[in-house]
Amino acid sequence: MLVITALIVVRLENLFTVAMVTGIYSLLSAVFFTLLDAVDVAFTEAAVGAGISTVLMLGTLSLVGHQQKKRKTVQWFPLTIVTITGLLLMYGTLDIPPFGEGGNPIHGHATTVHYLEESSHETGMPNVVTSVLASYRGYDTMGETTVIFTAMVGVLLLMSGRKRKPSKDVEGDPSGR
């Protein structure tokens, strides 16, 4: 399903539809995450991927227009690079131990055992995901929060400018936004 949706995204030329199908793609991956028992990740994917980023994309489209430029020739160089990278990534997955197998190294690791067995009386949190995120890995989460904050600063600096002074450059080229 995910592959089919991705192919549709590539084939479509109307960017408005592309934004919608990307949202569907996110929703499908959220379902996929739920099937893998990663409910927290699925939650985030559904809220951010399918919700907010679709709206942001639509907002951008209302600024730049929603029709892709026609391109007839196939660009071989990027296609080759993408294919090679994809194949390398697939080759990389061959080394990953099979999914859900009990003997996988991650299940027996001392850290995993400690989190799963000690978390409830060390932090008093029934949800281990929360206790790992906020307590054991508090530094990481703080870093992430700072990253998000930095994103805001960047967007504010770039986008919330004053009115651009009318210059000959802008007037002559209507697409030069």
Binding site: V39, D40, A42, F43, T44, A47, V48, G51, I52, V55, L56, G59, T60, S62, L63, H121, E122, T123, G124, M125, P126, N127, V129, T130, S131, L133, A134, S135, G138, Y139, T141, M142, E144, T145, T146, I148, F149, A151, M152, V155, L156, M159, S160, G161, R162, K163, R164, R177
Partner: protein
């Protein structure tokens, strides 16, 4: 979209429930899936919906851009502040055990609650600021 009665009324009914659900996700994060990040995004989504239907001007009167930006900064401050507080109490940075001098588990509870609150505030503020910036871009240009 601002003239459509059905959308306007539906938004008016839905928005409080979206915000309430965000708070549920926030405070139920200890027991089920969810937490500060997801709650912040959902809380922002409530305002995004409101902005889409009622227009940027109205939304900015409810929630000014400055306030959203302040939220974005305040969340990081809360998070780091908890870290400083634990240091003041004699522990390491972000070691919540020291927040409550009698019961380490209560300290953990309090720490996680505050930290998730920080994440919620930042994520909410940032999402709203980014959305406002994108949505308000056209007005600036024209």
């Amino acid at each position: 979209m601002e003239d459509n009665v059905i959308l306007r009324v539906a938004t008016k009914i839905l928005t409080p429930y979206i915000l309430l659900f965000a708070l549920y996700v926030q405070f139920h994060g200890d027991y089920g899936p969810g937490g500060g990040f997801q709650a912040g995004v959902i809380f922002a989504a409530g305002f995004v919906l409101y902005t889409l239907i009622y227009g940027l001007e109205t939304a900015r009167r409810v929630l000014p851009l400055k306030f959203a930006a302040l939220c974005g900064a305040l969340g990081v401050l809360i998070y780091a502040g908890v870290g400083i507080a634990t240091m003041m109490k004699g522990g390491e940075f972000l070691n919540y055990n020291y927040l409550d001098s009698h019961n380490a588990e209560h300290g953990q509870h309090l720490g996680i609650l505050l930290v998730e609150l920080g994440v919620l505030t930042t994520v909410f503020g940032v999402m709203v600021v980014i959305f406002y910036s994108f949505a308000g871009r056209r007005d600036i240009q024209s």
